[in-house]
Subunit: 236 residues, 2 copies
């Protein structure tokens, strides 16, 4: 049984995605020109263009007229724009800072082990308390597979935006994520950290982040104090 032939431009797209995932071009570097890629892959320039345009639409590439086609860098601004949806009452993006964090190696909870496919191995858990406008506002629990993040340790210094760190330190590119949102009551220890009353409402986000190949690389739980910030979603 032969699979149905997929369109050429999708094959080109997958081949290029795989080459990026393999590190053939690193973050910030340019791919060869459309004509060069077309010659390499034995297709027309128009077909390469269609593949590149589709990848750019999914934020897997950045095209700059007159310069080239680039593998995006997970800069802090880019991470915030794509993967952080909190805005203040005026609709302006919110930039959180980290007040404190802790990194531990723990036995993976069942759902974490299942999602990250870590089997019986231990996982890293990063806990962070983050502030918005100087005020404690976000609690995060982040789970990572030590096999994919060998450089991580209890004393690793972490930047504000983790996805840039994943990329530069472990070669892991977060390409997309899914958030599952609900409202929960603040537990006593959460309330103490955030300086609010126990039982006060918090917005909880359960996130699975995936790399270019679609493999889950991060599981994150966040609790947001939403009296002065909102989670913004565009629907169309």
């Amino acid at each position: 049984m032969e699979a149905v032939a997929r369109p050429l431009y999708l094959q080109v797209r997958e081949a290029l995605t795989a080459r990026i995932a393999d590190g053939e071009w690193k973050a910030g570097e340019a791919l060869p020109s459309e004509f060069a890629l077309a010659a390499q892959m034995g297709v027309s320039q128009g077909t390469v263009r269609k593949a590149l345009d589709a990848m750019a639409a999914d934020n897997l590439l950045e095209r700059r007229q007159g310069r080239g086609t680039f593998v995006p860098e997970q800069t802090e601004a880019r991470s915030l724009f794509h993967f952080f949806r909190m805005q203040d009452a005026a609709g302006a993006p919110v930039v959180p800072t980290t007040l404190r964090h802790a990194i531990e190696r723990i036995q993976a909870p069942a759902d974490v082990a299942r999602t990250l496919d870590t089997g019986r191995r231990q996982v890293w858990r990063i806990q962070r308390l983050r502030a918005v406008g100087g005020r404690p506002a976000i609690i995060e629990h982040i789970y990572l597979d030590p096999q994919r993040f060998p450089g991580l340790g209890p004393d690793t210094a972490l930047p504000n935006a983790l996805y840039g760190y994943y990329q530069s330190a472990a070669g892991v590119t977060v390409a997309r994520a899914e958030d599952s949102l609900s409202a929960v009551a603040a537990a006593p220890d959460q309330a103490a950290q955030l300086g609010i009353a126990p039982g006060a409402p918090l917005l909880r986000a359960h996130r699975v982040a995936r790399d270019l190949r679609g493999t889950a690389v991060e599981l994150r739980q966040s609790w947001f104090e939403t009296s002065f910030q909102h989670y913004q979603v565009a629907l169309n």
Copy 2:
């Protein structure tokens, strides 16, 4: 001062969007073929195709190979898929039913009047209590401008999915929306309606829905009881 010439395919896209908004083709009807449109508008078929593809990507059109290019109908399935993001614990889409509703004409709160641009006029407010799996789970307050919905009255029978009603009864197509999410404590009357404890956490969504021209046509506040359903968001 002449504005910079925009690309032809964007001009084509805007012209077609305006013609759809004007009702030249109604929901469910097909546009002329690519070649016919190209001849009409004096551009090549490839340029029309680029405009149509972009509109299809934004859910403004539906293309079906061998059949034609259609103006989408706001069926219940489509509305749910595009504008309702609740899923149950298993990740399956949730289909709410309406338990009861009330339609009143009220003085518009300031933010409603500003968003819908109704000035000093009164507005319609639709209140609904909705159930998921037979269990009260969602409270909605929906604000509409009577000038855009002249057929609406206190005794109007409403279907489950309002956006289909907007389209068929008032010729208003909801093309996109923005949700702003936060967590709040249930007020006593809300708790009573939902059968939960006062102060229990609810997920609140503040929505502005816009038509094809980008004009705000609906303002909606929803409160979700999220112990058995979640608001799902894809990020990329």
